[in-house]
Amino acid sequence: MSHSILITGANGALGLAIAEYFLTREADCRVFLGVRERRDRAEELAARFPGRADLITLEITAPEAWQTALSEIAAKASPLAVLINNAGFHDDALLANMSQDQWSRVLDTNLNAVFHGCQAVLPTMMRQRQGRIVNISSLSAISSPAGQTNYAAAKAGVIGLTQSLAKEAARMGITVNAVCPGYIEGGLPADWTPEHLKALKMQLPMRRFAKPAEVAAAVFFLASPEASYITGSVLKIDGGML
């Protein structure tokens, strides 16, 4: 029986790359693409893998939406084996000027949603006595750049959650790991000018941004049976930036 994988934020560059990585390398997986309003790119991907990739509407900040999504998955396929908490966004501002709303929305989406997701899938994974959770944190969790107090705090929180949950779930055959990508092609703010991007690349040891597939490869490995003794790990994928 194929095993089910749920990827949140699956309409974004990294979410799509992770989904495609699984779909092209694991013949027996069924991938559920967690999306909200924006779903055009996920639909295109699903169309390329008929019967193996399904879109699933998931408001990740709502605990009840997770229950609905998991019921939908269980009705269509085998119980969830892999959860990739990938959805996220940032809304940068200096703390002195940051609104309460900017703080709360970034924390809700990037950290609280990871809590909701992990809590929702744990009973299923515990019953199966196996499971893989990979949380997408960020290099910002470690480098904490100015202007990202909300995002850096949320992503650092994801690391703390990951490491603590890893200890709780280890004996149940469930691993929980985090990756911290740096700049990823296709995942950069649309308003950054070509000049700014060029200057940014000059500061990077590899003088290029990560390809989404380069991050997806690490996620794929952490979710694989071969990574069975890796849990609570935090892997930075930044081309040597830090």
Binding site: P123, M126, R127, R129, K167, E168, R171, M172
Partner: protein
């Protein structure tokens, strides 16, 4: 297989305990240094184990505290449910 024996064997396999069923007395405390030394993660696993293998659903944390004392208290709760 009697409930107590089955519970012990399940605990050993599900909680990955490095001991045999004979090492677990019927009234040996499951938690704390005077007993087997299980922790809160094991408690959670015990709850899942009882539901999965005996269809026993723990109502709340208070009930869990009462029942998850030792093999005797668990077996009595499980057998009572089967009888009911």
């Amino acid at each position: 297989m009697p409930t107590r024996q089955r519970l012990k064997e399940l605990m050993i396999s599900e909680l990955m305990l490095d001991m045999s069923a004979d090492d677990i007395g019927d009234d040996t405390p499951l938690f704390g240094p005077a007993g087997i030394g299980l922790d809160s993660v094991d408690a959670l696993q015990l709850v899942v184990m009882l539901e999965k293998h005996f269809g026993f659903k723990m109502a709340d944390q208070e009930q869990a505290k009462r029942i998850l004392q030792n093999v005797n208290t668990i077996a009595e709760a499980v057998d009572q449910q089967v009888a009911a």
